[in-house]
Amino acid sequence: MTSFDTPAALPLAQRGTQLLRTALGPFVALVLVVGVFAVADNLQEDGGHFATLKNAQNVFVHSATVAVAALGMTMIIISGGIDLSAGTTMALCAIVLAWFLREGYPPSVAVTAGLGTGCLAGFVNGTLISLLRVVPFIVTLGTMTIYLGLGKMISHSTMVRPLPAQIPAWMHELLSPRVQQEWMVFPPGVWLLLALAVTVSAMLRYTVFGRHVFAIGSNESTARLCGIHVPFTRIAVYTIAGFFVGVAGLYQFARLTIGDPTSGTGKELPVIAAVVIGGGSLSGGRGSIVGTLTGALIMQVISSGCTSLKQPNHIQEIIVGVIIVAAVTIDQIRQRRLAP
């Protein structure tokens, strides 16, 4: 009962099957959703635009910002935490980046500052949770508005607009659906997202730190008794997650070319939803990067599919809600079957 439920603690063969099981569920759902929309779209008299490369590029580009932030959120949720400030931190990072560009600093400095802001914000979250012994939900509920306020303070409550000449060309192309080199298929930002995903996934699965993350999420007191430095691990998790939120801020800025203090408000919810649809458990100890990416894609496919089928926004919102509840229900049924 109290043993760690980490994949790494299991024998290798069993580990493989479990990985397949956790990742497969959301993936089947993604294939289903894509299939259903593709068929329905083709049945329309003026349809046939859904299952196209152009639309696939859109789906990946549109989900990239949420997905990259969800990489960090996956770690946090596995460790038994939550980060409600992810959305406003994202906007804060974009504001800082835009501010440095506007003041004439080179892009490398601006990007570093933006990513650093994300790390710092995550570090503060982790430290407050560890020091104050207040649950992550409350701490990050507080820092959510603190970071929103800071963003407004830096931007004087308005858009931070660097001149077009101050924004480097690579930033425009980072997430542009007009891919410069056709062989790349997707813009660089999507590839960067996939590379980061592979890195985090490997870290969670094969490093001691990764096992510790699963351990404190599965059973914190057992983890402590086993000699894991829980506060240190927690602060590290939130700081790394902050870095990914910083990357999401960079993505958002690359798409908007302005820093908007309100652009992150509410964005934490799709980020959390991506993790949950992907099989992450809010009680900690479970979650996978492949699942999270799939979760982010599912939401975007529904959005794009509803546009193809000329559905208004409220239908899209209802379908996403149904998917979230269904995904978690199916996942629980599966877990119960797996349990001894």
Binding site: T52, R178, L256, D260, S263, T307, Q311, P312, I319, I333
Partner: protein, 333 residues
């Protein structure tokens, strides 16, 4: 067991899509085939405000009159979500619609998306708020906001017989349309009513009625005893100022002109607590935008700038049929 659950989900989705097909085809204004139906995407700034529902009504009216035009109405999920609006534009480009009608949430952030549409051969008509680069669009359909501010200045100036103390409460930094109104108001005041003194013209109300009310209360406390006129530049701002004037017992005494209607503001106009409301014509905006875009698609030459008019509603003229219609414009469901 989860297989059953999954197939249940699948059935749900298929059912939803089936319904989708039905409602989409019933929307089509012309069922007979023959010429191709033009698919026009209309993208507002938000989808819940009354103003946009009126724009939608105008767009549908134009589609009906033109025939063989289908309106696809879609905004971002969250109001004021610039990234979401970019996604919507890019989605419609992938859908290969025939044309896009867009009220950009931001004058610069939406430019790349409009350029992408253009490169894909999809023309865009802009309405309500301007785009920084007008060379990439077909036309710009909007209220002349500068003139809206100017007629507000004349209304207050004439009601005060050219002398007195007036406050202008600005809206928000970086909002293009309201900045035009503020500029039109101040320049007209200075030019045509030299006897009128501006007590304050550098304060911003913020975007909600509550923020506006707090700011207006501060101004009333500071200048209340010598205040003769007040101009607020948009609906939430006007709501806030009205609340503040009522609290301070100044409503009705101070000549107060606002912008855009709303049920409470129309009532205040009838009660003579507001002496003027500058009205825009959102129905005409939707109507003219779609008409212009279709004309362009059919190879006709169109004007680069189409004003939809602005008019002053006062307690005296508010029952004229034309004004009455603008005070309570039609809405799409």
């Amino acid at each position: 067991m989860h297989r059953y659950a999954l197939s249940g989900l699948l059935i749900l989705l298929v059912a939803a899509c089936d319904r989708a097909g039905e409602s989409a085809s019933s929307l089509r204004t012309d069922a007979h085939s023959g010429n191709k139906t033009l698919r026009i995407a209309v993208i507002p700034k938000g989808t819940t405000h009354v103003f946009w529902k009126s724009v939608h009504a105008g767009a549908l009216k134009a589609a009906q009159e033109l025939g063989r035009v289908e309106i696809q109405w879609k905004g971002a999920l969250l109001e004021n979500d610039r990234e979401g609006q970019i996604n919507v534009v890019q989605d419609f480009v992938a859908q290969a619609v025939d044309g896009i009608v867009l009220a950009p949430l931001d004058s610069t952030a939406l430019v790349p998306a409009v350029v992408q549409a253009r490169e894909a051969g999809i023309p865009t008509v802009i309405f309500d708020s301007g785009l920084a680069d007008e060379s990439v669009t077909v036309s710009y359909v909007a209220t002349d906001n500068y003139n809206g501010g100017a007629i507000a200045a004349r209304e207050i100036g004439n009601r005060l017989d050219g002398k007195g103390n007036v406050i202008l409460l600005r809206y928000n930094v970086g909002s293009e349309s309201t900045e035009q109104r503020e500029r039109g108001f101040l320049e007209t005041m200075r030019k045509e009513f030299p006897g009128i003194k501006m007590l304050s013209d550098d304060q911003y109300s913020g975007t909600t009625p509550l923020e506006a009310q707090n700011k207006a209360l501060e101004l009333c406390n500071q200048f209340g005893d010598k205040l003769d006129g007040f101009f607020s530049v948009c609906e939430p701002n006007t709501m806030g100022v009205l609340g503040a004037l009522e609290q301070e017992g100044l409503a009705g005494k101070v000549k107060f002109v606002g912008f855009d209607p709303g049920p409470q503001l129309v009532q205040a106009l009838a009660d003579k607590k507001i002496h003027g409301l500058v009205l825009q014509d959102p129905v005409a905006m939707g109507y003219e935008s779609v008409k212009t875009l279709v004309a362009h698609l059919r190879g006709e030459k169109v004007q680069k700038r189409i004003p939809t008019g602005e008019i002053m509603a006062t307690p005296e003229n508010m029952n004229d049929p034309q004004i009455k219609k603008l005070l309570d414009p039609e809405q799409a469901n």
